[in-house]
Structures are given as C-alpha cells and as structure tokens.
Amino acid sequence: MQKQSWMKLKDLTPAASNSINATVILVEKGNTIEGGKEKTETCVALVADETACVNFQMWGDECEAFQPGDIIRISKGIFSRHKNKLLLRAGKRGSLEKVGEFTMLFVESPNMSEMRYMPNANQPSKLVPESQLTKP
C-alpha cells in the first residue's frame, strides 16, 4: 500500500505509477478538444505551485469543472508521456478536488513537462531531470 505523501512539482519525475499527490493552482486553460465519436474530450492546462509548473491534462467533465484561479488537490495522479508529451493527469485511479481559489503563490518556470529526463547513472530505472544527473 502506497503511503500518500504530498510533493512539490519540482520533484516530478515521469513514472508509470499513479503516485502523485500535489496541490496546484490552475494558471491557464487551453481549449477543450472534442473527442470525436468514441473518445472523451480533453483539455490541457498549465498548473503550478511555488516550485514549478507543469502541463496538466483533463479528461471529460474535468474540462468544464476547473477554471483558472482554482486550487486543485491531485490525489494519486500520474506524470507520464502521452503521445510524446509529458503530462500530469488524474488518470484512471487518481482524483481531482477543487479546494479553493486564488490564495496560492506559484511560478511559471521551470515547466516540468519541458524538462529532459535521463536515467540516473546509479539507479537506471529512475529518471531524473537532466540538470540533476549525478556524475559517474
């Protein structure tokens, strides 16, 4: 059983597990893209905390539920590559909750979705941002 621990966006690394628990503020919202016949609609937004920001994908009715300025608690989210884009999302097993508005500080760089991640020499299975690579 994974213990729920809250993290800052600067510590995001891509992984296949849904273990991201973070509180973020929605900074900017992109357009909702219609899913077409069988796909649900999606929308990509920029969310942030005081350490970093990241591109955030919303699915289905999440798209209309959140507006810029909303403070969102992400539980068991997932930060992974989707169609060659690195995105944070709730995923099938995660959840989103609006817990407030406005009263949160944030930064608009670095954007974790634009980081290059490389395997860490000592622990190849774990990815770290290129800037944090430990020298062999």
Binding site: A65, G69, K98, E101, F102
Partner: protein, 495 residues
C-alpha cells in the same frame, strides 16, 4: 442504514466538501434521533451541548417542516445565551454563504430574526456578517432578495436596533451605499419595493438617530451625496445645510462637524465580501511585483465582469486605503504596492461616473486630512500613484492632479477653505513623513503640463498664506465668524 439528509450547500462537480458542512452533518447524523421529543431534562455536558447545538443548527437549516419543534428544543436547552448556535450561523455566513442552497438560506435569515427576538449573544455580529453578504454591484435576484430581507428584519426589530449603535449605523452605511446603485436600475415591482424599504429605513435612522449616525463620520457625507436625486434625501440635505438644529444633536451645527470625524475602519469592511477581502489581502501581502497580472485577471473575472459590477471598485479603493496598511516588512519584501493595485482598478472603470467616484474614493481622506487623527497610510497610495506614474504614464498623473484640484474647488463650495486646508495638510504630511522627498518631483517635472505645475505651486504656497492669515484673525477675534467664512472666497480669486 443511512439517514437521509437534505443538503446544506451546493457543490459543483469535483468540489471538495466544506469542513463546516461535514461537521454539522456529522453532528446531525449522530444525534438526529434525539431531536424528536421527549427531550431529556438533564443538562448536557459542554461537549454534548456543542454537538446538540450543531445538530439542531443543521436540522433547522435543512428541514423547515421541523422548525417549530427544533426551535422549542433550542430554546429549552440553551445554557450559553445561544453563543454556540449563533457562532455556528456566523461561521456559516462568513465561510459558506455563497454556497448555501435556497432553503437553508431562507432558514438562515429566519433564524437570524429569531435570534434577535431573544437578544442572542453575538447576534449583532451575525447581522453585520449578513450585511456584508449583500454583494456590491450584483443585481441578481438572490442578492436583491437578501438585501430586502435584511431591510425588513431590521425595520421590524427597531427597538432592538436602536440599542445596537454599531449594527444600526452599519446597516445605514450599507443601505445608503446600495441605494445609490439600486436607484439607477430600471424599475420593476420587486426593485421598487426594495428601494422603498431602503429609503424608508435610511430616512428613519437619519431622522431619529442622527446622534448615532454622526459616529459614521465623513464618509456619511460621501454616501449621502450620491442620493441627492432621491426626493426624501433632497429634503434631508436641505435640513443638513440650512437647518442643522432640526436634527437636535449637540455638536452638530454644520457639515464641518461631520467632516472632522474620521470614519472608523469597520465601515469599509461592510462593502467588501469576506472572499474579496481575503483575496485582496493575499494579493497585497504575498504576491510579488511582476506576478500580479494573473491574480488581477482572476479578480476581475470574478467580481468585475457583470454589467454594473464596476461600482464595487469604489468600495475596494476605500478598503485598500483605510483597512490595509502594510507593515514595513511587507513593503520592503517586494510585494506589489497598493498604489499599483489601485492604478489597475482605476483603469478597470469603463464609465466616467464610476471612474469619478473611484477617484473621489482615492482622494477622500485628503480632503479633510488632519495629522492628529488621520493616518499617513490613508493618503500614501494616491501620492505614490501620482508620482510613480512619472514619466511613463503621465496621463495618470495629469488625470489625478486635475481631479484633485477640481474636487478642492467644487466638492463643497461653501467650505472650500476646509477642504483646501485638508489637502494642503495631506501634501505637507506626505513630505514630512518621507512618502515623497519633496514635491519638487512634480513642480519641476517638465513632462507635467505647465498649467498643473503652476496650479500646484500656487496651491501649496498661497494656501499657506491663507491659513496663516486665518490664524491671525482667529487669535484677534473669536466673534467674527462671518469674516472668517467670507475670507476664503476672496483668497480664491486667483483660481
């Protein structure tokens, strides 16, 4: 077996449940079976009492059919003057009012009047919190309904109200302010009834309790000015100017007696909702210079996007000038300055009427500035906005200085000397306290129009002569009031 409950708050999809909602619901679920008679005759322990009160609050708010029996239970079991019960409703009002569903909302107002009946502990705070919940610049039905309900409750409980000077004058402040906006709206039966209630309440308070109204101080005049078009207020103004003795208050013989009284800060909170206050305080305490743009967009979207909503900018500016005085630490920490936020707000006014009122709100504390009772922090934002706009935004500097001189000359022509003295005092204090090093930055500014430079010069130096002269005359003879009143007329010939 789950106990069915009626909802208290409205939640949008994905919205987290509010803590207060959760604890009230929990108390109800725990004790719902004890809310039916027979009621125990034993006095509950303090924790049992707290839980019972919360359960009763939940039931009273969400189950109107059980009102009679719940009220009986509440009155029978009360041991703390309704403190916990009223505090619960107060917390709900301060933290959750916008999310209350229609039934709980109606019940909340009903319970408020019930609590007034029993002179419950803290019911004055509850009324004031509810008054704050009437949103400025919001002409939707639920908001107008709240306004009418409170006007009715207070009118119906006049005897209680006159013994609560703070509630009385707070309500007056609120309804005077709202009336200015409501009077300009297109007529309709609901609105006409509301205006009638507001006018009759305000006039009743002003005519019968003027001695208490004086406690509001100088912003009372600012509010009354916007109501001059209303016949009942025109009559009131006639009496204020020509027959002040009619009000029968010792110490009030002229408008100057009101100008002299600084409006206590409490009143400026009344026209800002609890959430708006929290957002403004956050912006001015934590957001650094350069990062304010997003927050301003969100604030404008939430509060300034509906037609007519820009009227609230006046109240926001009074709040910023009077109620938010940042500490030296905050000022030095790189947080966005008040003057910059006010500059943004002024730019957000789309119509001249609102912009003029907003500028008046910004300069109001200058007009009657008295170093011994007024704070430099009340007048600092206006000065910094004027000076910081040089040289990049000269139109702002010009606009504000022009407005200031216009107001000095025209705000109250009969008492021009009082206002000129106030503004001169403001300039002097700003230099003395180091808000600006000197006024040379304006007087020697070649980007500033020669007309304004000359006007400023003349104002600063001629006025000093005028007040010196006045002091000499006053010292020589206390009886020559006419002489003193007449003199400023002559002194202003140069304008």
């Amino acid at each position: 077996m789950t106990v069915p409950t009626n909802p208290l708050l409205h939640y949008n999809p994905y919205e987290a449940k509010h803590q207060l909602d959760l604890s009230l619901t929990k108390a109800y679920l725990l004790l719902h079976s004890q809310l039916k008679p027979p009621f125990p005759l034993t006095i509950p322990s303090s924790s049992e009492y707290a839980l019972l009160t919360q359960a009763l609050a939940f039931s009273l708010l969400t189950q109107p059919d059980l009102t009679k029996i719940n009220l009986k239970h509440l009155h029978a079991s009360v041991t703390d003057g309704y403190d916990i019960f009223t505090t619960t409703l107060l917390n709900l009002t301060d933290n959750c009012y916008p999310k209350l569903l229609p039934v709980p909302r109606t019940q909340l107002l009903f319970l408020c009047s019930q609590l007034i009946d029993v002179a419950a502990f803290k019911v004055d705070s509850l009324v004031i919190s509810l008054l704050r919940r009437i949103n400025g610049g919001d002409f939707t039905e639920p908001n107008l309904w709240l306004c009418a309900e409170l006007a009715k409750i207070l009118s119906d409980n006049w005897d209680w109200l006159v013994d609560e000077p703070l509630v009385l004058t707070s309500a007056l402040f609120v309804f005077l302010r709202l009336l200015a906006d409501h009077y300009r709206l297109v007529s309709g039966p609901q609105l006409d009834e509301l205006k009638r209630l507001e006018i009759s309440f305000c006039i009743r308070v002003l005519r019968n309790c003027f001695h208490l109204c004086l406690g509001i101080g100088r912003d009372l005049i600012r509010l009354l000015q916007d109501l001059f078009v209303i016949p009942e207020f025109k009559e009131l103004w006639k009496d204020l100017i020509c027959d002040p003795c009619k009000f029968g208050v010792l110490g009030f013989s002229d408008l100057c007696d009101i100008y002299r009284i600084k409006t206590p800060r409490h009143y400026f909170l009344l026209r800002i909702s609890q959430e708006m206050e929290a957002q403004l305080r956050f912006l001015l305490t934590h957001v650094k210079w350069g990062n304010q743009q997003r927050y301003q967009v969100w604030f404008a979207k939430k509060y300034l996007s509906l037609p007519g909503s820009e009227t609230v900018i006046v109240d926001v500016i009074r709040f910023i000038c009077q109620c938010y005085h940042p500490s030296k630490e905050i000022i030095q920490s790189g947080v966005i300055s008040r003057w910059a936020v006010i500059g943004w707000l002024l730019k957000s006014c789309k119509r001249n009427y609102f912009e003029a009122n907003a500028k008046l709100a910004l300069f109001y504390d200058w007009l009657f500035f008295n170093d011994t009772i007024d704070s430099i922090m009340d007048i600092e934002p206006a000065m910094l906005l004027i000076v910081s706009s040089v040289p990049q935004y000269m139109e702002i500097t010009h606009c504000l200085l022009e407005f200031l001189f216009l107001v000095v000359d025209n705000y109250d022509v009969q008492r021009k000397n009082v206002i000129a003295k106030g503004v001169l005092g403001a300039f002097n204090a700003l230099v003395k306290r180091g808000v600006v090093h000197s006024l040379e930055v304006l007087m020697n500014c070649d980007k500033l129009s020669p007309f304004l430079r000359e006007k400023l010069s003349k104002f600063l130096f001629d006025k000093a002569l005028v007040s010196q002269e006045k002091e000499i005359i006053q010292m020589q003879s206390g009886d020559h009031q006419d002489q003193i009143a007449g003199m400023p007329e002559q002194a202003h010939q140069w304008l």
